[in-house]
């Protein structure tokens, strides 16, 4: 069965510090990968998605970047965090090639607080 991991679970960082959040998927190959942010309240904002190694699509211009160094690894980064980067970050995956019909599967999330 497939499993998706995210770490760390929680993170408190000062403004201006760097960020690295990691997501890995087990039990599948060639997945589509996604990074979402959920601000206080509830809405989900798609930040990045990737259809393959080194292929990143950015949805919203911002202080963050993403990379996919391996097939099942997706990393979210920032060189200098802003207060507005605080939120709940969710990684998700879906089966490539059947995107229209298939659901996305989510990781447990990382709660980021920037002080």
């Amino acid at each position: 069965s497939q499993t998706i991991h995210q770490w760390p679970a929680t993170l408190v960082q000062p403004v201006g510090s760097p960020l690295s959040l990691e997501c890995t998927v087990e039990g599948t190959s060639n997945p589509n990968l996604y990074w979402y942010r959920q601000a206080a309240g509830r809405g989900l904002q798609l930040l990045f998605y990737s259809v393959g190694i080194g292929q990143i699509s950015s949805e919203v211009p911002q202080n963050l970047s993403a990379s996919r160094p391996q097939d099942r690894q997706f990393i979210l980064s920032s060189k200098k965090l802003l207060l507005s980067d605080s939120g709940f970050y969710l990684c998700a995956w879906s089966v490539r090639g059947q995107e229209t019909y298939n659901e996305q599967f989510f990781g447990p999330g990382t709660r980021l607080t920037v002080l």
């Binding site: 509830r42 809405g43 989900l44 998605y49 709940f88 969710l90 659901e103 996305q104 989510f106």
Partner: protein, 116 residues
């Protein structure tokens, strides 16, 4: 423009009563619709989806959803609510614009509170 609306920020029901969480959509072409649930400080869990076929879709944890094309709705339902159903519920629709079918368009979520 394609969109999903969840018109209720919060729904309150008594345990044992039926529950409905509403969702309406606007897409061009055939809609591909999804419901997810999120418990506090957790990731989203997939509940069910409508792709084609029977308008009544059954999913996890006793939930079901009714697709209504004429009303462009996809309401989530459960015959008898449990306190443990209290959570945040999201409706989503597949973005069918060319080149964007990997993405979902999300509603803002509805907080369900089931009172004992």
């Amino acid at each position: 423009a394609q969109s999903v609306a969840q018109p209720e920020d919060q729904v309150n029901v008594a345990e044992g009563n039926p529950l409905t969480v509403k969702c309406t959509y606007s897409v061009s072409g055939n809609p591909y619709l999804f419901w997810y649930v999120q418990y506090p400080n957790r990731g989203l869990q997939f509940l069910l989806k409508y792709i084609t076929g029977d308008n009544l879709v059954k999913g996890s944890y006793g939930f079901e959803a009714e697709f209504n094309k004429s009303q462009t709705s996809f309401h989530l339902k459960k015959p008898s609510a449990l306190v443990s159903d209290s959570a945040l519920y999201f409706c989503a629709v597949r973005d069918v614009n060319a080149g964007n079918n990997r993405k979902l368009i999300w509603g803002l979520g509805t907080s369900l509170a089931v009172n004992p």
